[in-house]
Protein backbone atom coordinates (compact mmCIF):
# COMPACT_ATOMS: atom_id res chain seq x y z
CA UNK A 1 0.00 0.00 0.00
CA UNK A 2 1.05 3.52 -0.77
CA UNK A 3 2.49 5.44 2.24
CA UNK A 4 -0.15 8.15 1.87
CA UNK A 5 -3.00 5.64 1.88
CA UNK A 6 -1.37 4.06 4.95
CA UNK A 7 -1.44 7.42 6.76
CA UNK A 8 -5.06 8.04 5.74
CA UNK A 9 -6.34 4.66 6.91
CA UNK A 10 -4.29 4.71 10.10
CA UNK A 11 -5.72 8.09 11.11
CA UNK A 12 -9.24 6.95 10.24
CA UNK A 13 -8.80 3.84 12.37
CA UNK A 14 -7.45 5.76 15.33
CA UNK A 15 -10.31 8.27 15.11
CA UNK A 16 -13.08 5.67 15.17
CA UNK A 17 -11.58 3.50 17.91
CA UNK A 18 -12.06 4.07 21.63
CA UNK A 19 -10.76 7.47 22.68
CA UNK A 20 -10.40 8.62 19.08
CA UNK A 21 -12.92 11.42 19.51
CA UNK A 22 -14.54 11.21 16.07
CA UNK A 23 -17.99 11.86 17.56
CA UNK A 24 -16.88 14.53 19.99
CA UNK A 25 -17.28 17.30 17.38
CA UNK A 26 -20.82 16.23 16.50
CA UNK A 27 -21.83 16.10 20.16
CA UNK A 28 -20.42 19.56 20.70
CA UNK A 29 -22.25 20.78 17.59
CA UNK A 30 -25.46 19.30 18.97
CA UNK A 31 -24.89 20.96 22.36
CA UNK A 32 -24.30 24.41 20.83
CA UNK A 33 -27.34 24.24 18.54
CA UNK A 34 -29.60 22.97 21.33
CA UNK A 35 -28.55 25.79 23.61
CA UNK A 36 -29.39 28.58 21.15
CA UNK A 37 -33.22 28.35 21.40
CA UNK A 38 -32.90 28.36 25.19
CA UNK A 39 -30.76 31.47 25.04
CA UNK A 40 -32.85 33.55 22.64
CA UNK A 41 -36.31 32.24 23.48
CA UNK A 42 -38.99 30.48 21.45
CA UNK A 43 -39.21 33.08 18.69
CA UNK A 44 -39.64 30.81 15.67
CA UNK A 45 -39.34 33.57 13.09
CA UNK A 46 -36.11 34.82 14.63
CA UNK A 47 -34.69 31.28 14.82
CA UNK A 48 -35.52 30.72 11.19
CA UNK A 49 -33.82 33.95 10.19
CA UNK A 50 -30.58 33.39 12.13
CA UNK A 51 -30.60 29.58 11.78
CA UNK A 52 -27.98 29.30 9.02
CA UNK A 53 -25.62 31.60 10.93
CA UNK A 54 -26.05 29.57 14.12
CA UNK A 55 -25.41 26.31 12.27
CA UNK A 56 -22.28 27.73 10.68
CA UNK A 57 -21.00 29.08 14.01
CA UNK A 58 -21.63 25.73 15.66
CA UNK A 59 -19.82 23.87 12.88
CA UNK A 60 -16.89 26.28 13.06
CA UNK A 61 -16.50 25.85 16.82
CA UNK A 62 -16.96 22.08 16.62
CA UNK A 63 -14.29 21.75 13.95
CA UNK A 64 -11.92 23.88 16.04
CA UNK A 65 -12.41 21.56 18.99
CA UNK A 66 -10.97 18.55 17.19
CA UNK A 67 -8.16 20.37 15.36
CA UNK A 68 -5.93 20.24 18.41
CA UNK A 69 -5.51 16.47 17.99
CA UNK A 70 -4.45 16.61 14.35
CA UNK A 71 -0.73 16.53 15.07
CA UNK A 72 -0.61 16.54 18.87
CA UNK A 73 -1.02 12.77 19.22
CA UNK A 74 1.76 12.08 16.72
CA UNK A 75 4.00 14.64 18.39
CA UNK A 76 3.54 13.26 21.89
CA UNK A 77 4.46 9.66 21.07
CA UNK A 78 7.31 10.45 18.69
CA UNK A 79 5.48 9.39 15.53
CA UNK A 80 5.95 12.84 14.03
CA UNK A 81 9.75 12.40 13.98
CA UNK A 82 9.35 9.18 12.05
CA UNK A 83 6.82 10.75 9.70
CA UNK A 84 9.48 13.33 8.84
CA UNK A 85 11.87 10.47 7.95
CA UNK A 86 9.46 9.04 5.38
CA UNK A 87 10.09 9.10 1.67
CA UNK A 88 6.70 10.57 0.72
CA UNK A 89 6.67 14.40 0.40
CA UNK A 90 5.57 15.90 3.71
CA UNK A 91 3.03 18.16 1.97
CA UNK A 92 1.18 15.12 0.63
CA UNK A 93 1.39 13.33 3.99
CA UNK A 94 -0.17 16.37 5.60
CA UNK A 95 -2.96 16.32 2.99
CA UNK A 96 -3.63 12.65 3.76
CA UNK A 97 -3.83 13.46 7.48
CA UNK A 98 -6.13 16.43 6.83
CA UNK A 99 -8.45 14.37 4.62
CA UNK A 100 -8.72 11.66 7.26
CA UNK A 101 -9.40 14.38 9.82
CA UNK A 102 -12.12 15.94 7.66
CA UNK A 103 -13.82 12.61 6.98
CA UNK A 104 -13.93 11.80 10.69
CA UNK A 105 -14.74 15.23 12.11
CA UNK A 106 -15.96 17.55 9.31
CA UNK A 107 -18.18 15.18 7.34
CA UNK A 108 -20.20 14.10 10.43
CA UNK A 109 -21.01 17.78 11.01
CA UNK A 110 -22.35 18.07 7.45
CA UNK A 111 -24.41 14.92 7.92
CA UNK A 112 -25.78 16.09 11.28
CA UNK A 113 -26.68 19.57 10.04
CA UNK A 114 -30.15 18.72 8.56
CA UNK A 115 -31.34 17.29 11.89
CA UNK A 116 -30.00 20.28 13.78
CA UNK A 117 -31.60 22.55 11.15
CA UNK A 118 -34.97 21.16 12.18
CA UNK A 119 -34.26 22.24 15.78
CA UNK A 120 -33.91 25.79 14.46
CA UNK A 121 -37.17 25.68 12.49
CA UNK A 122 -35.42 25.90 9.12
CA UNK A 123 -37.35 25.17 5.92
CA UNK A 124 -36.24 22.25 3.72
CA UNK A 125 -34.72 24.60 1.15
CA UNK A 126 -32.72 26.41 3.83
CA UNK A 127 -31.56 23.10 5.29
CA UNK A 128 -30.37 21.96 1.87
CA UNK A 129 -28.58 25.26 1.33
CA UNK A 130 -26.81 25.12 4.71
CA UNK A 131 -25.83 21.51 4.15
CA UNK A 132 -24.37 22.29 0.75
CA UNK A 133 -22.40 25.28 2.04
CA UNK A 134 -21.10 23.21 4.96
CA UNK A 135 -20.06 20.45 2.59
CA UNK A 136 -18.10 22.95 0.53
CA UNK A 137 -16.86 25.04 3.45
CA UNK A 138 -15.81 22.58 6.16
CA UNK A 139 -12.79 21.31 4.16
CA UNK A 140 -11.58 24.92 4.12
CA UNK A 141 -11.90 25.03 7.92
CA UNK A 142 -9.86 21.82 8.21
CA UNK A 143 -7.14 22.95 5.81
CA UNK A 144 -6.85 26.42 7.39
CA UNK A 145 -6.81 24.79 10.81
CA UNK A 146 -4.07 22.47 9.59
CA UNK A 147 -1.62 25.37 9.57
CA UNK A 148 -2.59 26.41 13.09
CA UNK A 149 -2.38 22.83 14.33
CA UNK A 150 1.10 22.43 12.83
CA UNK A 151 2.27 25.68 14.43
CA UNK A 152 0.70 24.94 17.81
CA UNK A 153 1.87 21.34 18.08
CA UNK A 154 5.39 22.22 19.19
CA UNK A 155 4.25 24.50 21.99
CA UNK A 156 3.26 23.27 25.40
CA UNK A 157 -0.46 23.93 25.83
CA UNK A 158 -0.49 24.95 22.17
CA UNK A 159 -4.09 23.81 21.98
CA UNK A 160 -5.12 26.98 23.78
CA UNK A 161 -3.35 29.09 21.19
CA UNK A 162 -4.98 27.27 18.31
CA UNK A 163 -8.38 29.08 18.26
CA UNK A 164 -6.61 32.44 18.41
CA UNK A 165 -4.47 31.50 15.40
CA UNK A 166 -7.19 29.90 13.34
CA UNK A 167 -10.37 31.89 13.98
CA UNK A 168 -9.29 35.11 12.24
CA UNK A 169 -8.33 33.12 9.14
CA UNK A 170 -11.65 31.30 9.19
CA UNK A 171 -13.70 34.51 9.14
CA UNK A 172 -13.93 34.75 5.31
CA UNK A 173 -15.18 31.18 5.15
CA UNK A 174 -17.82 31.97 7.76
CA UNK A 175 -18.93 35.14 5.96
CA UNK A 176 -19.38 33.51 2.57
CA UNK A 177 -20.79 30.28 4.00
CA UNK A 178 -23.54 32.13 5.83
CA UNK A 179 -24.20 34.59 3.03
CA UNK A 180 -24.55 31.77 0.51
CA UNK A 181 -27.05 30.01 2.76
CA UNK A 182 -28.92 33.29 3.33
CA UNK A 183 -28.92 34.03 -0.38
CA UNK A 184 -30.68 30.75 -1.04
CA UNK A 185 -33.37 31.57 1.52
CA UNK A 186 -34.09 35.30 1.27
CA UNK A 187 -31.99 36.62 -1.62
CA UNK A 188 -31.51 39.13 -3.15
CA UNK A 189 -28.05 37.98 -4.24
CA UNK A 190 -28.15 34.81 -6.35
CA UNK A 191 -27.01 31.71 -4.44
CA UNK A 192 -24.23 31.01 -6.92
CA UNK A 193 -22.15 34.13 -6.26
CA UNK A 194 -21.23 33.65 -2.59
CA UNK A 195 -21.05 29.87 -3.13
CA UNK A 196 -18.48 30.35 -5.89
CA UNK A 197 -16.37 32.51 -3.56
CA UNK A 198 -16.71 29.85 -0.85
CA UNK A 199 -15.52 27.22 -3.33
CA UNK A 200 -12.58 29.46 -4.21
CA UNK A 201 -11.67 29.87 -0.53
CA UNK A 202 -11.73 26.09 -0.11
CA UNK A 203 -9.53 25.56 -3.15
CA UNK A 204 -7.03 28.19 -1.96
CA UNK A 205 -6.84 26.59 1.48
CA UNK A 206 -6.34 23.16 -0.13
CA UNK A 207 -3.21 24.47 -1.84
CA UNK A 208 -1.80 26.88 0.75
CA UNK A 209 -2.68 24.92 3.92
CA UNK A 210 -0.58 21.78 3.32
CA UNK A 211 2.46 23.72 2.11
CA UNK A 212 2.36 26.06 5.12
CA UNK A 213 1.68 23.22 7.56
CA UNK A 214 4.54 21.11 6.18
CA UNK A 215 6.90 24.08 6.48
CA UNK A 216 5.78 24.66 10.06
CA UNK A 217 6.35 21.01 10.95
CA UNK A 218 9.83 21.00 9.43
CA UNK A 219 10.80 24.10 11.38
CA UNK A 220 9.14 22.90 14.53
CA UNK A 221 10.77 19.48 14.66
CA UNK A 222 13.70 21.14 16.38
Amino acid sequence: MNPLAAVFFRDMRIAVRVGGGALMGVLFFLAVITLVPFAIGPDLALLRRIGPAILWLGALLASLLALDRLFAGDHEDGSLDLILLGRAPLELVVIAKALAHWVTTGLPLVIASPVLGLFLNLEPLAIAAVMLTLLVGTPALTFIGLVGAALAVMLRRGGLLLPVLVLPLAIPVLIFGVSAADAAIVGPVPFGTPLAILCALTLISLVVGPVAAAAALRQGSE
Partner: protein, 209 residues
Protein backbone atom coordinates in the same frame (compact mmCIF):
# COMPACT_ATOMS: atom_id res chain seq x y z
CA UNK B 1 14.83 -13.49 9.44
CA UNK B 2 17.24 -12.61 6.68
CA UNK B 3 20.16 -11.72 8.87
CA UNK B 4 22.81 -11.50 6.21
CA UNK B 5 20.97 -9.68 3.45
CA UNK B 6 22.80 -6.64 2.19
CA UNK B 7 21.24 -3.38 3.44
CA UNK B 8 23.66 -0.69 2.31
CA UNK B 9 26.34 -0.18 -0.30
CA UNK B 10 29.72 -1.57 0.87
CA UNK B 11 31.55 1.75 0.55
CA UNK B 12 28.90 3.77 2.33
CA UNK B 13 30.22 6.15 4.94
CA UNK B 14 28.48 8.58 7.29
CA UNK B 15 30.70 11.53 8.10
CA UNK B 16 30.09 14.47 10.40
CA UNK B 17 32.61 17.26 10.67
CA UNK B 18 33.00 20.11 13.18
CA UNK B 19 29.39 19.97 14.33
CA UNK B 20 28.12 22.63 16.68
CA UNK B 21 24.86 22.29 18.54
CA UNK B 22 23.08 25.21 20.17
CA UNK B 23 19.86 24.66 22.06
CA UNK B 24 17.93 27.50 23.66
CA UNK B 25 20.86 29.90 23.19
CA UNK B 26 23.27 27.58 25.03
CA UNK B 27 26.05 25.75 23.27
CA UNK B 28 25.72 22.04 23.95
CA UNK B 29 28.76 20.83 22.06
CA UNK B 30 31.20 22.12 19.46
CA UNK B 31 33.81 20.67 17.15
CA UNK B 32 32.37 17.18 17.13
CA UNK B 33 33.52 15.03 14.22
CA UNK B 34 32.93 11.39 13.48
CA UNK B 35 33.01 8.87 10.66
CA UNK B 36 31.23 5.54 10.49
CA UNK B 37 31.65 3.15 7.62
CA UNK B 38 29.40 0.37 6.40
CA UNK B 39 29.43 -2.55 8.81
CA UNK B 40 30.61 -0.39 11.70
CA UNK B 41 28.99 0.94 14.85
CA UNK B 42 29.59 4.16 16.72
CA UNK B 43 28.67 4.45 20.39
CA UNK B 44 28.08 7.99 21.62
CA UNK B 45 28.63 8.33 25.34
CA UNK B 46 28.70 11.22 27.73
CA UNK B 47 26.92 12.58 30.80
CA UNK B 48 23.26 13.67 30.78
CA UNK B 49 22.81 16.82 28.76
CA UNK B 50 26.01 16.32 26.76
CA UNK B 51 23.98 16.32 23.53
CA UNK B 52 23.82 12.63 22.64
CA UNK B 53 20.19 12.76 21.55
CA UNK B 54 20.74 16.11 19.83
CA UNK B 55 23.57 14.62 17.77
CA UNK B 56 21.36 11.71 16.70
CA UNK B 57 18.54 14.08 15.77
CA UNK B 58 21.03 16.17 13.85
CA UNK B 59 22.14 13.16 11.81
CA UNK B 60 18.49 12.28 11.13
CA UNK B 61 17.90 15.83 9.90
CA UNK B 62 15.41 16.56 12.68
CA UNK B 63 17.66 19.23 14.16
CA UNK B 64 19.72 21.79 12.31
CA UNK B 65 23.44 21.95 13.02
CA UNK B 66 24.55 25.46 13.96
CA UNK B 67 27.79 24.81 12.09
CA UNK B 68 29.52 21.89 10.43
CA UNK B 69 28.12 19.33 8.04
CA UNK B 70 26.92 15.78 7.93
CA UNK B 71 27.17 13.82 4.73
CA UNK B 72 26.60 10.34 3.51
CA UNK B 73 29.29 9.25 1.05
CA UNK B 74 28.67 6.58 -1.54
CA UNK B 75 25.21 5.73 -0.28
CA UNK B 76 22.16 5.34 -2.45
CA UNK B 77 22.62 8.56 -4.33
CA UNK B 78 19.01 9.57 -4.86
CA UNK B 79 18.05 9.33 -1.19
CA UNK B 80 18.73 11.80 1.60
CA UNK B 81 20.27 10.64 4.88
CA UNK B 82 16.83 10.89 6.51
CA UNK B 83 15.32 8.58 3.90
CA UNK B 84 17.94 5.90 4.56
CA UNK B 85 17.66 6.18 8.33
CA UNK B 86 15.86 4.38 11.08
CA UNK B 87 15.48 6.57 14.15
CA UNK B 88 14.75 4.84 17.43
CA UNK B 89 14.16 7.65 19.89
CA UNK B 90 13.25 7.47 23.54
CA UNK B 91 9.62 7.61 22.43
CA UNK B 92 8.22 4.46 20.87
CA UNK B 93 5.81 5.88 18.26
CA UNK B 94 3.23 3.27 19.19
CA UNK B 95 -0.49 4.06 18.99
CA UNK B 96 -2.33 2.54 21.96
CA UNK B 97 -5.64 2.04 20.12
CA UNK B 98 -4.12 0.08 17.24
CA UNK B 99 -3.12 -3.54 17.62
CA UNK B 100 0.53 -4.60 17.74
CA UNK B 101 0.38 -5.87 14.14
CA UNK B 102 -1.43 -2.74 12.90
CA UNK B 103 1.20 -0.49 14.45
CA UNK B 104 4.01 -2.37 12.73
CA UNK B 105 2.10 -2.63 9.47
CA UNK B 106 1.62 1.11 9.36
CA UNK B 107 5.30 1.88 9.82
CA UNK B 108 6.41 -0.75 7.35
CA UNK B 109 4.02 0.73 4.77
CA UNK B 110 4.96 4.27 5.54
CA UNK B 111 8.73 3.94 5.86
CA UNK B 112 9.27 1.18 3.34
CA UNK B 113 7.40 -0.41 0.51
CA UNK B 114 5.37 -2.47 2.97
CA UNK B 115 5.19 -5.57 0.82
CA UNK B 116 6.92 -7.88 3.25
CA UNK B 117 4.87 -9.66 5.90
CA UNK B 118 5.22 -8.17 9.38
CA UNK B 119 4.84 -11.46 11.28
CA UNK B 120 8.53 -12.51 11.03
CA UNK B 121 9.61 -9.15 12.45
CA UNK B 122 7.22 -9.59 15.38
CA UNK B 123 8.53 -13.12 15.93
CA UNK B 124 12.07 -11.79 15.93
CA UNK B 125 11.33 -9.57 18.93
CA UNK B 126 9.19 -12.20 20.72
CA UNK B 127 5.88 -10.43 20.16
CA UNK B 128 4.45 -13.00 17.75
CA UNK B 129 1.76 -14.15 20.17
CA UNK B 130 0.54 -10.63 20.90
CA UNK B 131 -0.07 -9.38 17.38
CA UNK B 132 -3.81 -8.81 17.88
CA UNK B 133 -3.52 -7.13 21.27
CA UNK B 134 -4.14 -3.37 21.36
CA UNK B 135 -0.73 -1.81 21.87
CA UNK B 136 -2.06 0.19 24.83
CA UNK B 137 -1.80 -2.99 26.94
CA UNK B 138 1.91 -3.49 26.26
CA UNK B 139 4.50 -2.89 28.95
CA UNK B 140 7.30 -0.38 28.38
CA UNK B 141 9.70 -3.17 27.42
CA UNK B 142 7.22 -4.69 24.99
CA UNK B 143 6.59 -1.32 23.37
CA UNK B 144 10.34 -1.01 22.95
CA UNK B 145 10.44 -4.43 21.28
CA UNK B 146 7.62 -3.33 18.99
CA UNK B 147 9.61 -0.31 17.85
CA UNK B 148 12.64 -2.56 17.32
CA UNK B 149 10.48 -4.73 15.05
CA UNK B 150 10.19 -1.67 12.81
CA UNK B 151 13.94 -1.77 12.16
CA UNK B 152 13.63 -5.38 11.03
CA UNK B 153 10.47 -5.01 8.95
CA UNK B 154 11.88 -2.15 6.86
CA UNK B 155 15.43 -2.35 5.56
CA UNK B 156 17.32 0.91 5.92
CA UNK B 157 21.13 1.07 6.09
CA UNK B 158 21.57 3.66 8.86
CA UNK B 159 20.30 2.93 12.36
CA UNK B 160 20.22 5.79 14.86
CA UNK B 161 19.48 4.36 18.28
CA UNK B 162 18.86 6.47 21.36
CA UNK B 163 19.35 4.42 24.52
CA UNK B 164 18.25 1.28 22.68
CA UNK B 165 18.57 -0.96 25.73
CA UNK B 166 16.27 1.18 27.90
CA UNK B 167 13.36 -0.82 29.36
CA UNK B 168 14.56 -4.08 27.79
CA UNK B 169 15.10 -7.14 29.97
CA UNK B 170 18.22 -9.33 29.76
CA UNK B 171 16.86 -11.50 26.94
CA UNK B 172 15.67 -8.41 25.10
CA UNK B 173 19.12 -6.85 25.35
CA UNK B 174 20.72 -10.03 24.08
CA UNK B 175 18.25 -10.05 21.19
CA UNK B 176 19.05 -6.42 20.45
CA UNK B 177 22.80 -7.12 20.30
CA UNK B 178 22.06 -10.00 17.96
CA UNK B 179 20.01 -7.74 15.68
CA UNK B 180 22.68 -5.04 15.70
CA UNK B 181 25.37 -7.56 14.87
CA UNK B 182 23.31 -8.94 12.00
CA UNK B 183 22.75 -5.40 10.75
CA UNK B 184 26.45 -4.53 10.70
CA UNK B 185 27.37 -7.87 9.14
CA UNK B 186 24.86 -7.08 6.41
CA UNK B 187 26.68 -3.82 5.69
CA UNK B 188 24.50 -1.49 7.71
CA UNK B 189 25.87 1.12 10.05
CA UNK B 190 24.79 2.02 13.55
CA UNK B 191 25.11 5.16 15.62
CA UNK B 192 23.88 4.60 19.17
CA UNK B 193 23.70 6.89 22.17
CA UNK B 194 24.19 4.81 25.25
CA UNK B 195 25.24 4.81 28.89
CA UNK B 196 25.85 1.11 29.20
CA UNK B 197 27.68 -1.42 27.06
CA UNK B 198 26.15 -1.84 23.63
CA UNK B 199 26.95 -5.54 23.29
CA UNK B 200 28.75 -5.20 19.95
CA UNK B 201 32.10 -3.87 18.82
CA UNK B 202 31.83 -0.12 18.48
CA UNK B 203 34.04 2.91 18.18
CA UNK B 204 33.39 5.31 21.03
CA UNK B 205 32.63 8.99 20.62
CA UNK B 206 32.62 10.81 23.92
CA UNK B 207 30.68 14.06 24.22
CA UNK B 208 31.00 16.59 27.01
CA UNK B 209 33.70 16.83 29.67
Amino acid sequence: MTAHSQVGTPAMQLVGSDLVCVRGGRQIFAGVSFAVGAGRALAISGPNGAGKTSLLRMIAGLLRAEAGRIECRDGASDLTIAEQTHFLGYQDAVKPSLSVAENLQFWSRYLGDGHGPTAPALEAVDLGGLSDLPAGYLSAGQRRRLSLARLIAVKRPIWLLDEPTAALDASGQARLSELMRAHTVGGGLIVAATHGPLGIDATELRLGP
